[in-house]
Symmetry: C2
Subunit: 473 residues, 2 copies
Amino acid sequence: MVLTPEEVCAEVLERITPKQGERARILRLAEDLRRRVEEAAKEGGIEAEARVEGSVAKDTWLRGEPDIDIFLRLPPTLGREDLGVVGLKIARRATLGFKQVERFAEHPYLECFVDGVRVNIVPCYRVERGLWLSATDRTPFHTDYVKPLLNERLVGEIRLLKRFMKGIGVYGAEIRIGGFSGYLCELLILQYGSFMGNLKSAADWRGQEIIDYEDHYKGRKAELRKVFGGDPLIVIDPVDKGRNVAAAVREGRLNEFIAAARAFLEKPSLSFFYPSPVETFKADQLVNVIRARGSALLFLRFGSVGAVPDVLWGQLYRTQKSLGKMLQRFDFKILRDAVWSNEEDINVFVFELETRLLPPIRRHLGPPLEKRVECKKFLRKHLGVESTVSGPRVEGNRWVVETRRKYFDAVELLKEELRDGGRSVGVADLLSQTIAKSFQVLVNEEILPLHSSNGDFAKFLTEYLKGRPRWLD
Amino acid sequence: MVLTPEEVCAEVLERITPKQGERARILRLAEDLRRRVEEAAKEGGIEAEARVEGSVAKDTWLRGEPDIDIFLRLPPTLGREDLGVVGLKIARRATLGFKQVERFAEHPYLECFVDGVRVNIVPCYRVERGLWLSATDRTPFHTDYVKPLLNERLVGEIRLLKRFMKGIGVYGAEIRIGGFSGYLCELLILQYGSFMGNLKSAADWRGQEIIDYEDHYKGRKAELRKVFGGDPLIVIDPVDKGRNVAAAVREGRLNEFIAAARAFLEKPSLSFFYPSPVETFKADQLVNVIRARGSALLFLRFGSVGAVPDVLWGQLYRTQKSLGKMLQRFDFKILRDAVWSNEEDINVFVFELETRLLPPIRRHLGPPLEKRVECKKFLRKHLGVESTVSGPRVEGNRWVVETRRKYFDAVELLKEELRDGGRSVGVADLLSQTIAKSFQVLVNEEILPLHSSNGDFAKFLTEYLKGRPRWLD
C-alpha cells in the first residue's frame, strides 16, 4: 500500500504525541523534582533557582521517551570547579534514594532515574544573556526564546522531525552521533514552518547551508564562513549570534539526513521513523559474507578506557583517523573503517583493507633529473644498500628504485606500531594507555566469538557489512 | 686505480679510432660500391648520382664497426612508390652475389653484407635544399654541412661520444632504442666543442634543452615550443630549420644520458664505454629473486608479427602502454612494465604488478550529495542489484557503494580481454592479428623455460630484475 506523506505523518504523530495522562504525570514529576532541587540548594545555603528545561518544558518530547532536564542556576560568583562540586552535591541530596549516575559534558551533571524516567540535573550559572560563563548557561534562554513561538501544530512538527531523525540515526549532538540536537530540531521547524517544509528544503541544501532565524547576520553572510569555518551546517543561535547550534553536526550525518529527506519525499514510508529491526547474521552467514567479500577485515580490539562517553568517542574517532592514515602511509588501501564500543569494556576498530599483504617490495619515486643535488643524494642513499631490491634507474624524467618495505603485513604493522600504545602514530592518550597494556588484532572470521557473544556488536557488524541505511531497503 | 677523464678518454680513443689500413680498406670498398651503384643505375637507364654518406663519408665511424651508407639520388620526377621499387632494383643489381636484406624505414632500402661489412643502399630524391620529397633527401646535405667543419680532433670527440652512448645504451634513432643518431652526435660535438664539454653541459640540461647551432631561431626561442611541441630535446637541423634532429630521442633515453654524464664526471671509468657483460641468472637464482620480490610478474608471450623492426617496436610500445592502462583501469597497480622481442618469433610483454589478485569487491565513489539528479541515477543503478555487495551509503559528502569487480585476477583479465586480439583495449593492429591466434600468460617462475632456452631473453630478464644501469655498478 502506497501512503501519502500526509498519511504517514498523521500515523506517526498519533504514535508520538504524549497522551494527556502521561503528559500530566511527567509535568507533575518535573515540577516536583524542580522544587526538591531548589529546596536542597536552599538547605545547603546556596541561593539558586531551579528550572525545568528541554523538551519537557517545551512539550516537544516523544511519547514514551520523556527526559526531564532540571537546570540549577547557581551564582556567577562560584568558581568553575565549584560549579560542578556544589551542583552535584545539591542534585544528589535532591534525588536521594534514586539511582544516580554522575555524567560529564563540559562539566559534571547528575543523571538519575525516578519512576522509570531519566532525569538530568545540570548545574549552570545564573547569568544575563550574552555573559555566558559555561556552555549550559544558554539553555534557560533557549527555553524562554522557543516557548512563546510554539503552538500545538508546531510542537507536532517538531516531534515528527525528531522521530524521523531518530529513525535514520542522525538525532543527538553527542560525539558518538555527531547529529542534530533537540533545540536544533525546534529551530529547523521554526525556520521552515513544518516537518515536510524542512524535508523539502533540506533535500536541496548544498554546500554550507546557513540558517539565521533572527537575521543576526542580515547582509553579512560572508562573515559567517570566517566565524564558523568549515562547519557543514550553520544555524545561528537566536540567543547568541556567536554560536552555531549545528556545530556538532558532522558532514556525514548532515548528508544522511539530506539523503533520507530525498528518499522520503520520493517514497514516503513509516520505516524512516520506525526502521525494521536488524536481523543479525548467524555465524555461518557471517563467515560466508566475509569470505565472499575477499577483502581483509582487521579488527583491533581492546578493553576499558575509563572515560565518559563524549571523551571516549572523541578519542576513538581521532584514533580511527590516525590509524587509517598510518595504514595508508604504509600503502595499505582502506576500503572502509569504522569503530564500535559498548562504552564499557569492549572497544573495536574495524579497518577493511583491499589486501592484508602487500608485496615486500615498494616502488619509490626519486627526484626528477633536473634536481641535480637531490639526485645525487638519492643515489647515495639507495645505491648498493641492502634495502634496495631493484634499481635505481631512470624512468621518464626521474630516478626510481624498488626498496624493501618495512611492513608488508598489515597485522604485523598494527601489532608492531601499537605495542607501546601507539601514541607516536596518533593513538589518543587514554586509548594509548589501555592499548599499551593489551590489544588483539583479529582478521576476518576471527571476530566470530565476539559476534556470537555480543548482540550489539553483531548488530553493528551486520549493518557494517550490509553498509546500507535501513531506510533504503 | 682511479683514472682521470682524460686518461679514460685517451684509452677509449686508442681503441675506437680506425687504424690506417682499415680506414683505407673501407674507403676503397665504399668508393667501389658507390661506382657500382651508379653504373647499375646507368645500365637501368636511370640518370642518378650515388654518394657515400654517413659515418664513413665523415670519418666518424668506430673501429671494427663500419657501416657503409650509399645514397642513390634519383630524379624528383619519379613517383613515391617508384622511388623504392627503382632504387631497390638498382641496389640489388649493384650487389649481386652478396647477402641482401630488404629493409624499410620511411621507404625501402637494401642492406647487404660485403666482405663482412654492412652496406646500406638507400634511394632518395636529388632535390635542392629545402625542397625535400622524402625523409632521406636531407642526408647528402648533412654530409656536406658537417664535413667541412670537422678536423681530426673533433672526429675523435664524436667517436668518444658515440662509444659512450653505445656503452650506456642510448645510441640509435630506431624506435626500439629511441636514442641519439650519429648525425645528432656530430652536432652535439660541434655545439660543445668536445666530448667532455658535451657531458658537462648535458649534466646540467633541464627541461626542454634547445640547441640551435646555426641560430635559425635567434631571439625567437619561444616559437620552438610551438613547432616541436613536447620533444624533450630540440636540436635544430642546420640544413632544415623545420626539423628536430633529436625528434626520435625519448625522454627516458635523454635522461639516462644526462644521468650517465653526471656519473662519469663524478667517477670516470672505462665501464661507461665498455660495460661488463651481464651475468644472467641461473634457473635457481631466477626463482629465488622472483620469489623474494613477492610481486606478480605477468609475462604475455606471443609469436611472429611479420613486421620490420621499426613497425614492430612502434606497435609493441603502443600496445605496452594500452595494456598497462587497461590493467590500471581495473585497479591493478603496476610496479613496472617492459617489452622484449627477438624481432622474429618471440615477443614478450612484462607487467609487474603489486598483486595478481584483488579483492572481488571494489569501492565505487558515487556523486556528491549536492548533485541531486546524479544521486538519483546512482541509487537507481546500484540499489538492490546483484553486483552491489555493500551499500549504497553516504560517506562524508558522497554516495559510496562496494560492487563486485568484473575481474579480480589480472591473468583472467588479460586472457579474457585479449581473446579476440584485444584491438578494443588498444592492442595495435599487427600484434592483434597474432595475438588473436594464440598467446600465453605466464606468471612468475613460469617464465623459466624461455629464460633457460633463450640467452638474449635471459639477459633482458636479468637486467630487468636488477633494474639498474650497468654503469651504476
